[in-house]
Symmetry: C2
Subunit: 314 residues, 2 copies
């Protein structure tokens, strides 16, 4: 059945009609563009496709940050490595949904790898036996190429990534999103509506300018009905390699993540100290967990992962 | 005159026609959506409007970053304060084009201010006598509200900001953009095409994961014909407040901004050290330049501004 919105002009062909947005009656209608683009014609069939494709993925987790540069990709990578190391029988995947700035191929040390497309879909790149990655970074001619895409094209890419990657059986799929609350986030949330999203992990640094954007991200989750699994505070302290003095690089002038969580009823997952060796490992694509097993950051990470696993299962 | 693209179907009404995207011949044409949306029908009249509106703005500068969280908003603020302080007779404006995460109202200490709309347009908020700011942050009901907008709506907001803010006479308008190379950047560049964009300042931290995205941003500028005025390296060193030892928080494993600039033929403008007091000032909306005139970061900033002014005038 065609449906006709309340504010439709006379002789509206209905949003489900083949003429939607194209009939002469559509001229001047505020919905004309959306009808003509086909976005209004009922639920996107991709939602069903994605549901089937991800039916063997147990937990689907969005990693969100609000503000950029708080270490979202680094935290995604640490969580994935930590989850994969915690149980060698489990399988973990990372979907790098940051279309304009994909950093996972470098952080994981698999830059320049090729992804293969077969009848069953794209094969992700395996970082470890039980850790796989898909990123637009693998599809670019040169790593310096800019992906200058407007919203609709980015949405199409996310749809393709969600519906066409052959992940196999996964226990955890971590979706690394770009900063903000716009196309990529809406698309990921909407396309995953049928498949079932376990929830979102938010990442922030302690200073108020970053928390400002995390509050917006919490509001976004609330508005879209996405469960917040918890908030990770990153770069919370810096230990001087020389004098071991502790410095607040990004001072928590308003109480940091802990205070914000208690105000807004979110669960703090823990705090990761700032370690220049971690930045070095990310640049070089080395596995920080394996190289620095005794660092304070790795200790903190294990406790964060324990809480995350618990939140996923409750 | 109607124009007909090369890949058009038979009986294409032409992209400038009123029937573009709506005629029966358009069914199945790959350009149908773009034609129906009106995007193909000649130059946007807003470009002319923006040209007139900004005719009293001498230098229009985009501040771009590629990766988020490298301190783009902080650097924008420092540059604006520095330019305004350098010559008290000059006028500087900041347009905060980060729709999903506007941080300028807090950084400038004018959160909660009201903007007024009159017959001549929006009046910006004055941070100092010769420094004004416009941000979507002023238009939100609560600072925690998420702006969950897809591309087209963000583009509309940027168009409005460029065409409807009554800046008065300005020597410099700094446009603080969100991370990435997508809607906001394309729109700002395209709408400013008529008005004349002086160029872009790029901001990066020294580690390779950030430079990766700056290379993309340079490619973006190159593809859109935007002149690169120079690159600022932010958070390049941390001086321990305890032992004065210098640490590379984000190690320049691949040579940092200087090396990247020499490879890609861009001009390095200088490096700003990491100072937790600066993060504190940003959180509290205080003017770091006025409060810490003798800090190494302020010294570095003045030299960066000298180079920027020179680049603008050449």
């Amino acid at each position: 059945m065609s449906n006709v919105p309340e504010n439709a002009p006379e002789h509206c062909p209905g949003t489900q009609s083949d003429d939607a947005g194209k009939a002469s009656a559509c001229a001047g209608c505020p919905n004309q563009n959306i009808c003509a683009s086909g976005e209004a014609s009922g639920p996107d069939p991709a939602i069903e496709l994605i549901k089937n494709r991800l039916s063997n993925v147990r937990h689907k987790i969005l990693v969100l940050s609000g503000k950029g540069g708080v270490g979202k990709s680094t935290v995604t990578s640490l969580l994935a490595h930590g989850l994969a190391a915690r149980n060698p029988d489990s399988n973990v995947g990372i979907l790098d949904a940051d279309i304009c700035g994909p950093s996972q191929p470098r952080v994981q040390g698999v830059r320049g790898e090729q992804v293969h497309y077969s009848g069953s879909g794209w094969s992700p790149v395996y970082v470890k036996d039980n850790l796989s990655l898909m990123s637009i970074g693998f599809l670019l001619g040169s790593p310096d190429d800019a992906v200058i895409w407007r919203g609709p094209k980015k949405n199409g890419m996310i749809k393709q990534f969600l519906s066409e990657v052959e992940w196999g059986d996964l226990d955890y799929l971590l979706i690394d999103t770009p900063p903000g609350t716009s196309d990529e986030h809406l698309s990921a949330a909407q396309y995953l509506a049928g498949a079932g999203l376990t929830g979102a992990v938010l990442v922030s640094t302690p200073q108020e300018v970053a928390l400002l954007d995390v509050r917006k991200e919490l509001d976004f989750c609330h508005k879209l009905g996405i469960r917040v699994l918890g908030v990770v505070e990153n770069m919370s302290l810096f230990v001087c390699p020389n004098c071991k003095g502790r410095s607040e690089i990004f001072p928590a002038t308003t109480g940091g993540v802990a205070q914000m969580c208690s105000e807004l009823g979110a669960a703090p997952l823990g705090a990761l100290p700032l370690d220049p060796l971690l930045a070095r490992c990310c640049d070089a694509g080395r596995d920080y967990l394996a190289e620095m097993p005794l660092s304070p950051a790795v200790g903190a990470l294990h406790s964060i992962i324990d809480k995350l696993v618990e939140a996923c299962q409750s």
